[in-house]
């Protein structure tokens, strides 16, 4: 299925979870927050939230700022 992750198109297996997506990218799920179609995905549901074709995903973290 086709996703948009941080503005970039990305293909992944059908039924992949948020946790699965983060792991496949190589990200530590504890260090990021995820928004799916503009709704926050609580960290506690990363493992159970299955992604769907066409989902728009934002993955953010903390960077230096003032």
């Amino acid at each position: 299925m086709q996703l948009t992750v941080n503005g970039e198109p990305r293909t992944c297996e059908t039924g992949m979870t948020v946790e699965g997506l983060l792991t496949s990218i190589g990200l530590d799920p504890r260090k990021v927050a995820v928004e799916r179609n503009r709704e926050i995905v609580p960290k506690s549901t990363f493992v159970t939230t299955a992604l769907a074709d066409g989902d728009v995903i934002e993955i953010v973290h903390f960077i230096g700022g003032g």
């Binding site: 995820v34 928004e35 609580p42 934002e58 953010v60 700022g65 003032g66």
Partner: protein
């Protein structure tokens, strides 16, 4: 002089949203050469609260070092900001993500007006503050140095009022000490000068006005020697605070000799 003064006890703490801190210097984590320098400068500044921004992860290079690996959220209180947000909706969205990423509800709200001045857009700031407070956030708010709008933000439930001294990153210091003083006098929540400070005397001036603290980033990160400036700022904030508590002498028109006139030969 009793032994209960700050000079004797060193006890002078600062409380925001029920959390008590001993440092009145809050620092940003941006613009440093690298994360090592960021971590070192913050350590030297003695700051306990650090502001951080929320941005997209670079998914094409996830192995890049992360701020949290150098500036531990266990050691410092992270204050997520909304830098780069120009609408209330963007600011609220950003802080909801920040809360999910870190689990904290103490945040720095800033809604900007334009890219040239980064001056706060106050109508959007008020709108965002209202939405965030309704959603359970504890909002420290970057705002204009307008006492009336500062009061609106306080009445709404913001936990700290943070007027700009001058434009973000400009280093002009406090351009209108009178309005900063007016805001401090009317507020029952902490008032911190956020933005515009350039050097140690600017930080001391903010504290001498009676402000509860200062928040800065570029003044330290943009100095030729950021580590030395971090220490200068720590000392300036402490000195300014002590001077405020001590109560300065009144200004006089004419000279007043320090040596007694009696017994002159």
């Amino acid at each position: 002089m009793t032994e209960t003064t700050v000079a004797a006890t060193g006890a002078d703490t600062f409380t925001v949203a029920g959390q008590t801190f001993s440092s009145r210097l809050l620092v940003g984590t941006g613009k440093y050469k690298d994360f090592e320098e960021t971590a070192r400068a913050i350590e030297i500044s003695g700051a306990e609260i650090v502001t951080v921004a929320v941005r997209r992860v670079n998914v094409s290079d996830p192995s890049q070092p992360m701020l949290v690996d150098y500036v531990s959220p266990k050691k410092y209180t992270y204050l997520p900001n909304t830098a780069g947000c120009y609408t209330a909706d963007d600011a609220v969205r950003t802080l909801r993500l920040a809360r999910e990423a870190g689990g904290w509800d103490l945040v720095k709200l800033e809604v900007l007006g334009d890219q040239k001045t980064l001056y706060p857009n106050m109508p959007e700031t008020l709108k965002a503050a209202e939405a965030l407070i309704r959603d359970g956030f504890k909002v420290m708010v970057y705002c204009s140095d307008d006492p009336i709008q500062a009061k609106m933000l306080e009445d709404m439930g913001c936990v700290a009022i943070m007027p700009l001294g001058s434009l973000i990153g400009s280093g002009h210091g406090i351009l209108n000490p009178v309005t900063i003083r007016l805001i401090k006098e009317q507020s029952s929540v902490p008032v911190l000068v956020d933005a515009g400070l350039g050097t140690a005397s600017d930080a001391a001036a903010a504290m001498e006005l009676g402000c509860d603290g200062v928040l800065m980033n570029t003044a330290i990160a943009g100095a030729k020697d950021p580590l030395a400036m971090a220490l200068a700022m720590k000392l300036a904030v402490e000195a300014g605070r002590l001077a405020y508590l001590a109560g300065r002498m009144p200004k006089k028109m004419y000279a007043d000799p320090s040596s007694p006139l009696a017994g002159l030969i």
